[in-house]
Homo-oligomer: 553 residues x 2
C-alpha cells in the first residue's frame, strides 16, 4: 500500500486536450493521454448546416472539451494503474482568450436548438481575428477618453480579447448577445463542468477581460462605444473572481462518472496555458522570465513592482502567481517564421540532401548555418512577418531582410531569421530591464526547446544562460501543481512549484565571442526596429497591398 | 551579279566571340557564327603550370581572340555563300576594361617564354576584381588633391579600369610592368592584329583610361600614388587616339589569310560592346537611352550638353558617337539577381510544376506573379545584391527586402526583385533628368528583352514606352555599322545607324493604372535608397561579415 497521492492537470490546446497524471510528492509525471477535438477548429463552415463562415473566423465546439475529460482521464488512470482514490485534485489550463456565450446554468447557446445554426452561438477561439474593427474602436475611444486601464495593456486591447469579441457579438448577432447570461472564458467554463460552479479566474479576467484593481471599464465608456453595450460588464461579464491555485469547488457526481475520479476532490480555479507554465518551471519569483517558445512566443514573469512596460500584453495582480504582479509580453511570430521560410524558400537540392542524411529540413539548415561564424552571413532581419506584439503592439508591421548579396545562401537567411527572433526577445528583455522590472533569468519552455541551434543563438544574443524547463508537458504539469495546491498538499503555488516543477540541470551558456558580435548586430536590429517600428513605411505598403487586392476582387 | 556590299562585325564577349555578316544597304543580317574561347576565363589556375590564382582574379589568353577570327569569319563567308570580295569592311567590339601588357610590336607578354609562367603577363578580364585596394588609393588621392577628372566618373574610378589594374601590375609584378611597352585594351589589340596598327579607341580611352579633354592624370598625381608610376601615361599608355567609325587601317595580308577576307579592306577603330549597341538600335541622338539588359545593365546615351550626373560611370566626348558627348551609367546586378533568387530560394514544388508545364523557372514564377495586381505583394526591395554602380557607385551595398509576411510566396519576392531593378533604372533616368541631360526615350537591348514580364514592369515603373532593339545581335551589328562607315559606305555613324540599325515596331506601353501604383512603391524605394545608400548600415554589416569570415580562416 502506497501513501503517494496524485493530481491531474488537463491542458487544452488549439487542436487537442492532454491529461497528465502527476505524483504530488515530487511532480513525477506518471501518465499522459491526448485527445483531439472532433471538430478541431471551424474556420470555413459550420458543420451543422454547412453555412460559410466569414474570413478570419475561428470557432470551436464546447462538447469537444468535455470529450477530452471523458477520454483522457480514464486513460491515464488505467495506464498508470494507480488507485483513483489516490487522486486528490484536478484542474485545467486553456488557450485564451477563448470565449463563449452561455445561459444562467452554463449551457452553451450553440447547444440550444434555436441557436445551433448561428455561428455566433459557438466558442470564439483565441485566433478568431474578425473583431479587429471593434478592437480599433475600443482603443481609439480609450485613448480619446484617457482611460487609465489602457496603459496596463501596453496601450492596446487586442481583437482577440473579451471586449472586442463581445462587441462584435452584440453588433452582429444581437439575439445571441441578448440571450446569453454569461460571456465566459472556456478556461472557466470547463472548470464549471467539473465542479458545477462558475468562478472567473483572475488570469483571464485580468489579461483578457480588462479587470484591473477590482474594476472593469466603466458603463459610461461602454455606452460611448455602443449604447446597447453600456451594461455589458454588469449583465454579462462580471462574476466571482478566483485566485490561481484556489479551490473553485469539488468534483461533481456527473464529472466523477465521466472521468472515474472520486466525487468531491478539489477542482482548482482555471488557468491559461502560458501563464501556468511558470509553475511547471518553478520560475515563480521576480526576475524569472519564462518564454513559451513555439509558433509564437509568450513571455511571462512575476514581480513585486507595478511598472508600465511599453508594449507588454498586460500586467495583472495575481495574474500568474497569487499575491504577485504578473507581466505578459509576446512575439507574434517565431517558429512559424522559421516554418514559412523552410516551406517556401528552400530549394529542391536542400530537401534532397536533408532526406539523404535523414534530417528534417530545419536541422539540415541549422547544421549548415552553424558552420559559419556569427555575423558571417552579413545579414540582419526584422522578425515581423506576423507583426509585432511586444514591444510595438502593431500587427501591420512586416518582415525585413537586409544585407543580401549574390552569394547569400538559404541557410544564411534561415539563420538570420532565427537570430531576428532572438533579437526580438532581447528587445523585450531590455524593455523590461529599463522599465524597472529587470529580467535576471531566462527560462525556455515550449516546442522550440528541443532545437539546440535556436537555443544557443538565444543564449548568445541575450548574453544570458538559457535554462530549459524539465517537463515536456509544461502547461499540464503547471495545472497539476495548481490542483495540488487547491487540494491542500502545499501551502501555495510557490511551495508546490519548488517541489513539483523545475528546470534541467543543463543550461545553454552564452559564448562570449559570439555575444560580442551579436551586440554589434543587435545595434543594427535595434536601429531598424526603432525606425521601421515608427516610420509607417510598412503600414503604407500594407495599405497599397490591401487596396490592390481589393481592387482585384 | 549583285551590287550588294557587306561588312562584318565581331563581338567579343566574356566566353565567346561572334561574327555577324551584314548587308550594307539595309543592315540585313546574313549569317553569324560563334566560337567559344578555348581557355574561357582563368579564375582558378594558370593552365601552363597549374599555378593557383589568388581570389578575385580573372584572366584570358589573347590567342583565343585570334582563333575567333580564324574560325567564325570563314564560317560566315561560307554559310552565306557571298563573294568575299564584296566585303568592304570589318571591325570588332569587346568587353571592357579588358587589358593586357604587350611589347613594342604588340606581342602579348604571356606569349614570351620568359613570362608565360607569370599570371600578370596575361589579359586581365573586365571582371578581374583584385585591384580594389589600388582603386581605393586612386580615388582617395584624387579627392584629396581635388583632381578635376574624378567628377567625370561620378566621383569614383573602378577597380576594373586601366589605372587600377596597372598599379596592381606595377606593385605586384614590377618585372612585367617594366618589360611591357603598352598597357593596351583588348578592344584595340584585336584591331592591331587585323590592320597591323595600334590605334587607341576614344571609348575605352575615355571611359576606362581617364582620358579627358585631351589629357590623362598628371605625372605629379601618379608619382604621389607610387614614385615608379609617375611616367605610366607617357611610357605605357598614351598613343594615337581614334574616333569611333574611323578607319584604323586596312586588313593585313596575314589577317586576310586567317579570315578569307580581301587584303586591304577597311578596319574600323575598336569599340566596346555596350556602347556600340546604340548604333545597332539607331539610338544615337540626345535623349535616347539604350539599356543593355543582361546579368547586369549598362545604360548609354549621347548628349550635346556636358553635365555632371551623379554616379554615372563616365561622360566622354565622342565616347559613343563621334562629335557628341557619351554618357554611361549602370546597374551592377539585374538578371543575375533574378538568377540568384530562382536558383537558391524556390522550392521543389515550383520546380516540379514548372517542369510539368514545360516552362523554365523564370517563366513559371513570372506567370504566377502576373496574376496579382501591382502592389498586391506588399513588398519593396533594394536591388543591391551586387552593389550599386549608378547612382551610388558603392559595391559595399547589399540587397534588402521589406514587407514580408507569413503569406508571402516565392513568386511575390521574385516580382519584387524584378521591380527593384526597374526602380533602379528609374532612379538612373531621373538622375539624368534632373542633371540637365533628360532621357526622352528608353530603348532596351540585351538578353532580357525576350522577357515580356520584365519589359512590361519596366514600362510601368518608368512610365515610359520601352522600345526594343530589332537585332538579336546588337553589339555585332553595331560593329558592322562602324565598319560600313569606316569603309566609306555612309558619311557617319548616325547616317549608317538610321539605315542599318533600328528597333521593333512593337513597344511595351505603360499601363496608367499600374504606373500610378508604381509611383507609390517607387517613393518607398527612393526613400530606402537615399537612406541605406548613405547610412552605412550595409557597410558595417559587410565589415562584420568580413571580420567574422577572416577570423574563421
Amino acid at each position: 500500500m502506497s501513501n503517494e497521492k496524485y493530481v491531474i492537470g488537463v491542458d487544452y490546446g488549439t487542436l487537442s486536450g492532454r491529461a497528465l497524471l502527476v505524483r504530488v510528492s515530487d511532480g513525477f509525471e506518471i501518465a499522459s493521454s491526448v485527445h483531439e477535438y472532433r471538430h478541431a477548429v471551424l474556420e470555413d463552415t459550420l458543420p451543422i448546416n454547412g453555412k460559410k463562415l466569414p474570413p478570419d473566423w475561428a470557432l470551436q465546439v464546447p462538447s469537444d472539451y468535455v470529450d477530452v475529460l471523458k477520454v483522457t482521464i480514464p486513460e491515464v488512470l488505467k495506464s498508470s494503474g494507480i488507485d483513483p482514490t489516490d487522486v486528490i485534485g484536478i484542474t485545467t489550463d486553456f488557450t485564451a482568450c477563448t470565449v463563449l456565450p452561455v445561459t444562467e446554468t452554463g449551457t452553451p447557446l450553440c447547444e440550444l436548438k434555436e441557436f445551433q445554426d448561428n455561428p455566433h452561438a459557438y466558442v470564439k477561439l483565441w485566433k478568431h481575428h474578425s473583431a479587429q474593427p471593434h478592437a480599433d474602436r475600443i482603443n481609439e475611444l480609450a485613448h480619446a477618453r484617457k482611460e487609465k486601464w489602457i496603459a496596463r495593456y501596453g496601450g492596446k486591447i487586442s481583437s482577440e480579447w473579451e471586449f472586442a469579441k463581445a462587441l462584435q457579438l452584440l453588433e452582429e448577432s444581437p439575439e445571441i448577445y441578448s440571450a446569453m447570461r454569461y460571456w465566459i472564458e472556456a478556461a472557466d467554463w470547463i472548470i464549471w463542468q467539473l465542479c458545477g460552479k462558475y468562478v472567473r479566474n483572475i488570469c483571464t479576467a485580468g489579461y483578457k477581460g480588462i479587470f484591473q484593481d477590482g474594476k472593469y471599464p466603466s458603463s459610461d465608456y461602454l455606452k460611448a462605444l455602443n449604447p446597447n453595450f453600456a451594461h455589458f460588464v454588469s449583465e454579462k461579464l462580471e462574476h466571482t473572481i478566483g485566485e490561481l491555485g484556489e479551490k473553485a469547488g469539488t468534483l461533481t457526481k456527473e464529472a466523477s462518472q465521466w472521468t472515474g475520479l472520486p466525487e468531491g476532490i478539489a477542482v482548482a480555479v482555471g488557468n491559461v496555458d502560458a501563464h501556468v507554465t511558470s509553475a511547471a518551471a518553478n520560475a515563480v519569483n521576480p526576475g524569472q522570465m519564462v518564454a513559451i517558445m513555439g509558433t509564437s512566443t509568450c513571455h511571462v514573469m512575476v514581480s513585486d513592482r507595478l511598472a508600465e512596460v511599453p508594449g507588454m500584453c498586460g500586467v495583472v495582480p495575481g495574474g500568474i502567481v497569487s499575491g504577485k504582479l504578473g507581466y505578459e509580453a509576446g512575439q507574434s511570430g517565431v517558429g512559424d517564421i522559421f516554418g514559412w521560410f523552410a516551406h517556401n524558400f528552400v530549394p529542391q537540392e536542400y530537401v534532397d540532401n536533408s532526406q539523404k542524411l535523414g534530417k528534417d529540413i530545419h536541422t539540415y539548415l541549422s547544421d549548415l548555418a552553424i558552420q559559419q561564424p556569427v555575423g558571417g552571413h552579413g545579414l540582419v532581419a526584422l522578425d515581423w512577418q506576423s507583426g509585432n506584439r511586444s514591444t510595438l503592439v502593431d500587427h501591420q508591421l512586416s518582415g525585413l531582410i537586409l544585407g543580401l548579396t549574390l552569394s547569400t545562401r538559404p541557410e544564411e537567411v534561415y539563420r538570420a531569421i532565427v537570430e531576428s527572433t532572438a533579437f526580438g526577445a532581447r528587445k523585450i528583455v531590455e524593455t523590461f530591464n529599463i522599465s524597472g522590472v529587470p529580467v535576471t533569468e531566462f527560462i525556455a519552455a515550449g516546442g522550440l526547446i528541443k532545437n539546440k541551434f535556436v537555443m544557443q543563438i538565444y543564449a548568445d544574443v541575450l548574453n544570458m544562460p538559457i535554462t530549459i524547463i524539465r517537463s515536456a508537458q509544461g502547461p499540464a504539469l503547471g495545472s497539476a501543481i495548481h490542483a495540488a495546491v487547491a487540494a491542500g498538499a502545499y501551502k501555495d503555488v510557490v511551495a508546490a512549484s519548488a517541489v513539483m516543477g523545475g528546470v534541467e540541470q543543463f543550461k545553454f551558456t552564452p559564448n562570449p565571442e559570439n555575444a560580442k558580435v551579436y551586440d554589434q548586430l543587435y545595434r543594427h536590429y535595434n536601429s531598424l526596429y526603432e525606425e521601421f517600428g515608427h516610420n509607417k513605411v510598412m503600414h503604407d505598403l500594407r495599405r497599397i497591398r490591401d487596396t490592390a487586392l481589393m481592387g482585384a476582387q
